[in-house]
């Protein structure tokens, strides 16, 4: 009876290993890994152009992931992209004058939202709006500038004026 | 000849006709296998003896004719009925056909495990009893690849009788056995028949061995029954068939030459002949 039982045990072990591999790949190497399990609060930012920013793209401060992009919609009035960011609640003292910038990891890498903390004593809360934003850098624009003769630093298109009055929580 | 349809026949073959690859293997074969006896079936190689056993067990279906085993017409049986019938028949294959994945014990236990939910202790006792009967209880844990031809055949025999069948079919059980192993198998066939009353059909070429154990002999050739009787009657050689078969003549009703075209022509002598 013994050899038979060890067969069954080995088979069970093999099946377990196979499913463990599937579970690992599915939860640790795919976008599922980006769903933060903890509670989050929502912050809105408007951009001229989000480039190829996608839902669930990371939101980082100083390179550390603090949340993810929850949704990207077109704001009908301003004709700008309205990006909702879901920030982990444990990062609850981000100054409300922080600067949001769409950046690219590497030249061809993915786009993410980088927050540069400001100096305001007030912090971002659920429903806050980030006023200072900078759109995605467009590769085409960049190349165009180089070809035309390369003028000055990239035009910082701060959209602060657009949402200036409606700051609050 | 099976003219008198005696009620004592366990197997009744009537007007059996079978074509295989365009050749008539059986051409109106009729014969009876009496209950409780050892009946030998003899005939030239390729005459259809194995095919007949396959018909009896429903592994092959004839084109025409009836084939009754214990009253049931085998070719008309459905799957369930056929499998139920097979559980009452033991079959010893020409090459033993042990399952190479399992050891001797598990081979003999195989039919029990498949068909009967027995407590392990009871199963073990049955298997060891059958192995003891064929003298191989000590070999229970050997694998089939570790057995000699004679031992493998005895294990196959133990497996064939594990359900105490009413009928055992032996397909050339003596082939490739040394004289000692041959006598052991012969003794087993006799014992099983005499002590348990199991009806036996024995396909074999060794007339000396058949003579010691068979109650009756059917000789088939060209798809028909050509002679039938006790071994002694056949040994007297009263027909061309029996003379050739048991008298050891090379030429007779079964031609020495396989059918061929003209010999001279094949050697290229056509021109010379013309």
């Amino acid at each position: 009876m013994n050899p038979r039982r060890s067969f069954a045990a080995g088979t069970g072990l093999f099946i377990l290993l196979g499913f463990a591999a599937l579970a690992y790949l599915a939860t640790q190497t795919s976008s599922v890994a980006n769903f933060s399990s903890g509670p989050t609060y929502d912050v809105v930012a408007q951009f001229d152009n989000v480039g190829s920013l996608k839902d669930r793209a990371p939101v980082k401060i100083a390179g550390v992931r603090v949340g993810s992009v929850k949704s990207i919609q077109l704001d009908n009035q301003s004709m700008e992209a309205k990006v909702t960011l879901a920030i982990d609640t444990r990062y609850n003292d981000i100054p409300d004058d922080s600067f949001a910038k769409i950046m690219t990891s590497g030249l061809l890498g993915d786009q993410f939202v980088a927050l540069s903390p400001g100096g305001s004593p007030d912090v971002l809360k659920n429903g806050s709006r980030i006023i200072n934003t900078q759109s995605a850098m467009q590769l085409e624009d960049l190349i165009g500038k180089f070809l035309v003769g390369g003028s000055s630093p990239a035009k910082s298109s701060s959209t602060g004026a657009a949402g200036g009055g409606k700051n609050g929580g | 000849m099976p003219t008198d349809a005696d009620a004592d026949a366990l197997v009744e073959v009537r007007d059996l006709t079978t074509m295989l690859s365009g050749k008539a293997v059986f051409d109106g074969l009729s014969l009876d296998i009496p209950r409780g006896k050892v009946t030998a079936i003899m005939g030239p190689s390729g005459t259809g003896k194995t095919t007949l056993l396959k018909h009896i067990t429903g592994q092959m279906r004839p084109d025409r004719g009836t084939l009754r085993v214990d009253g049931q017409n085998v070719p008309t049986l459905g799957r369930e009925a056929l499998y139920a019938l097979r559980e009452r028949i033991g079959y010893l294959f020409q090459n033993s056909a042990l399952l190479t994945d399992y050891d001797v014990f598990e081979n003999v236990a195989f039919p029990l495990r498949q068909h009967a939910r027995l407590p392990e202790v009871l199963l073990r006792n049955i298997v060891l009893t059958k192995l003891q009967a064929v003298g191989l209880r000590g070999a229970a844990r050997l694998m089939p690849s570790e057995l000699s031809g004679g031992m493998a055949r005895r294990v196959a025999l133990a497996r064939a009788i594990v359900f105490d069948p009413m009928l055992i079919l032996y397909d050339e059980p003596f082939v490739g056995l040394d004289p000692i192993a041959l006598n052991q198998v012969l003794k087993l066939i006799r014992t099983l028949n005499r002590t348990l009353g199991i009806t036996s059909i024995l396909v074999a070429h060794e007339f000396a061995a058949v003579r010691q154990v068979a109650d009756g002999v059917h000789l088939i050739a060209n798809g028909r029954l050509v002679a039938s009787g006790t071994p002694e009657q056949l040994a007297r050689g009263e027909s061309d068939w029996t003379r050739q078969f048991f008298g050891g003549e090379a030429d007779g009703p079964v031609p020495f030459q396989y059918p061929a075209g003209d010999y001279a022509e094949a050697l290229g002598f056509t021109g010379a002949a013309a």
Binding site: R4, F7, A8, G10, T11, G12, L13, F14, I15, L17, G18, F19, A21, L22, L25, A26, Q28, T29, S30, S31, V32, A33, N34, K54, R56, A57, P58, G63, R65, S105, G106, L107, L108, G109, D110, F112 | S21, K54, T57, Q59, M60, R61, Y83, A84, R86, E87, I89, Y91, F93, Q94, N95, A97, L98, L99, T100, F110, P111, Q114, H115, R159
Partner: protein, 260 residues
């Protein structure tokens, strides 16, 4: 469906031969599926076969996965660095493995390692009358021999493909991060933001399952219908590898086009 299943080659050229084979294979698949309820009584046999075709293939699958991942990282790093895109290394490796290389290479290795073994084993069981002996013991060889092996192959293939991909990722990480110096965080975060569970991992697993079905079907069918001679079995084993490989690659194209 039983021992008297005839495999007479019909006259009329390769096309008819081929069609007849495909038809016979399809009918055989129906017989296999029909026998599933009965073969569930032989759970022990199914588990034994999962061990033989699955667990026994683990070593070759793991070693191959590791090396494929390593060479993938090496090649892609070189290509990506031309465009300054080495940050995407993790993503590209993972997508190649999950969507394509994992299922396909695993299936090809599986056909060579487990498929041939199934064919040869069943062919020899036929040649040595073991299948006929089962029939005589009132055990249906389709339900006891063919279907458990088929099911075991279908179960084992997707699991093996995922193990392959996992080891491939390990190999790629080894070469890309440890050796070539891609940033560890970038390697993973780029991957996690681009790999989709359903589109990439689950669809890849479906692919592997489909390959498991065709490879096991071909292997069992070839074994079951092999002429009962040593030449016949040898030839059937070869056919298993050839047919399975062609069908895997063709099916891969079809599934990629319609599924992914």
């Amino acid at each position: 469906m039983s021992a008297d299943m005839k495999t007479k080659a019909p006259r009329g050229g390769m096309l008819v031969d081929g069609l007849a084979q495909i038809g016979a294979c399809g009918l055989f698949l129906l017989a296999l599926l029909g026998a599933i309820p009965r073969s569930l009584r032989h759970l022990r046999e199914i588990s034994r076969q999962v061990w033989f075709v699955g667990a026994m293939s683990l070593v070759i699958i793991m070693i191959s996965g590791l090396f494929v991942g390593m060479v993938l990282a090496l090649q892609l790093y070189y290509t990506l660095s031309i465009f300054g895109g080495t940050a995407a290394l993790g993503t590209v490796v993972a997508l190649s493995l999950y969507r394509e290389l994992g299922p396909v290479i695993t299936a090809l290795l599986f056909a060579g390692r487990a498929g041939t073994a199934m064919t040869a084993e069943i062919g020899l069981m036929r040649a040595t009358d073991q299948l006929a002996a089962m029939e005589m013991m009132a055990v249906d060889p389709i339900a006891f021999v063919a279907t458990p092996r088929f099911l075991a192959g279908v179960i084992a293939m997707p699991l093996l493909a995922n193990v392959f991909s996992m080891l491939g990722l390990l190999g790629a990480h080894l070469v890309g991060v440890t050796w070539l110096g891609v940033d560890n965080g970038t390697f993973w975060s780029n991957m996690t933001s681009n790999v989709d569970v359903w589109k990439d991992i689950v669809n890849g697993t479906w692919k592997a399952l489909a390959f498991g079905v065709v490879v096991s079907l071909i292997a069992v069918f070839q074994g079951y219908t092999a002429p009962p001679t040593s030449e016949g079995v040898a030839y059937a084993t070869t056919r298993t590898v050839v047919f399975a490989s062609i069908v895997i690659l063709a099916l891969d194209f079809v599934m990629t086009a319609f599924l992914m």
